[in-house]
Amino acid sequence: MIREADDELTIFERSRAGRRAFVAPSLDVPERPLDELLAPALRRAEPPRLPEVAEPEIVRHFTRISKRNFDLDTGFYPLGSCTMKHNPKLHERIAALPGHAHLHPLQDPARAQGALELMWRLQQALGELAGLPHVSLHPSAGAHGELAGVLLTRAFHEDRGEHRSKVLIPDTAHGTNPATVTMGGYHVVAVGTDTQGNVDLDDLRAKASDDVACLMLTNPSTVGLFETGIEEIERIVHGVGATLYYDGANLNAIMGISRPGDMGFDIVHFNLHKTFTQPHGGGGPGAGPIAVSERIEPYLPRPQVVRRGGGSDEADAVYDLDYDRPKSIGRLRGFQGNYGVFVRSYAYIRSLGAPGLREVSEIAVLNANYLLAKLRQEGVLEYLPAAYDRLCMHEFVLSGAPMKRELKIRTLDLAKRLLDFGVHPPTVYFPLIVDEALLIEPTETETKETLDRFAERVAAILREAREDPEIARGAPHTTPVRRLDEAGAARRPVLRQRF
């Protein structure tokens, strides 16, 4: 294993036989022979090789490595399509309340009424934002929500005696879309993109047929543009009897302004870890709830969180888990989902309210357009032109092709050089249809000063490259680990360290 001079040892390498971080209290129950308690066949012959380390060493080790991490709490993180926005600290306090944090997933519904009410109310709020009435909180992440959507589509068609084989996906789609479709047992058919960055309607018409089960679409799309032909897309897709699936990765741009349900989508997934501020990217688990139309509702996963009784007097309402769903696609996971994520997302929705959520999207779009304009003012677009010259939504794509040709640095080099300035690089080389792509999503939680500084730094890196491209090609220079050998990691991965 290659080490930097000041590299941190692993916790296993720090282990010294006999060191301890605690002293076990003396036994306060009668001692019994081990054989009586657990049959020898069920016991391991040797103790596991766990690190033996004293508490100060543990604290220092993990504190040191935590400081080497790049995170949203230390710097700007404009990672396109990932919505790396600030996660309000208030949410952590609420999620840590003992009633939330210590709740057992096997608790009887009668004794978990508060949690079930929170989940039910979250379902209502998400349904309202999507413009679709029925919500399941089951899926654990965006791609899991997609899988739920594909399985619901299959259940919907098969219940009507139809066996369709294809799912249409734009060529700009997130990689999870084709992967999910394949996992769901359908064939992927890619639909092209026109010169304006919209779905190519002629190509869509040519490929839509009664063998198509679904069109999966992201709107705004992965190039950060609103699909202006969405109504025509809806007519074409529903015209052949297929369902319309909304990938909610970019919902951050349209909350309270337009609703997927009103655009004609049948199934929507939400990324609670993007739009609704659950920490992600190593910060915690996600959640990918889905909202569906009336005709898809019978197939939703079970159990569903439901409210019974109460009527207008909410005080009498009882919350329960409904297993009586004969057409359901069944369980997608153990228990009811990542509950802590629901708490944070519900706290976010309730603390901002409907006008606040609308403002979130307005500022997300304003910030992206401001940053694009600022980059243009700084002369950056001369070398990194916008892939589509339109008003963007919450993110935009630049092409580094002229930069590579004229300044001899690639998009990857620019991204790595940004690390030296304390900025997390934007998404690179995605979407695939844009050469040397750079996908930038500033989010609504960044100040004008941060956006200005970012634009100035990119301009400075381009000026520097004109003088000496080797600086960017060798970047990063100031991070704990320098340029990673990505090809080496893929060709010769070290999957196991022995100690």
Binding site: E486, A490, R491
Partner: protein
Amino acid sequence: MADASYPEDLLYHPEHDWARVEGEQATFGITWYAQDALGEVVFFDPPKVGDSVSKDEAYTEVESVKAVSDVVAPLSGEVVAINEALEQSPDKINEDPYGEGWLVKVKLSDPAETESLLDASTYEASLQ
């Protein structure tokens, strides 16, 4: 990585593939432009000897640190050899795309197809 080059003795397909035709047999590979656009190649998924390939259709995939991409056959025929060295060292596709980075050898079923391929200068002009 060497600078861009497009050897005169090869024929080129617009999808950035080359063919070196020797009698009834040809060697296929991807061009300097293709390997540069892909970035570092980490995996080559070869067809099997005996497989038939059709001109203009994908016959294999290469995976780079950026993406997985189809490789299109410049001519039709039957695969008679694959470059087994690429299994251990797919980076040869980047380092020497016209030499050690060759992909397959094919027994041509229709040598007349070569007429539709491009020469080096025409292919290079198409990249501008």
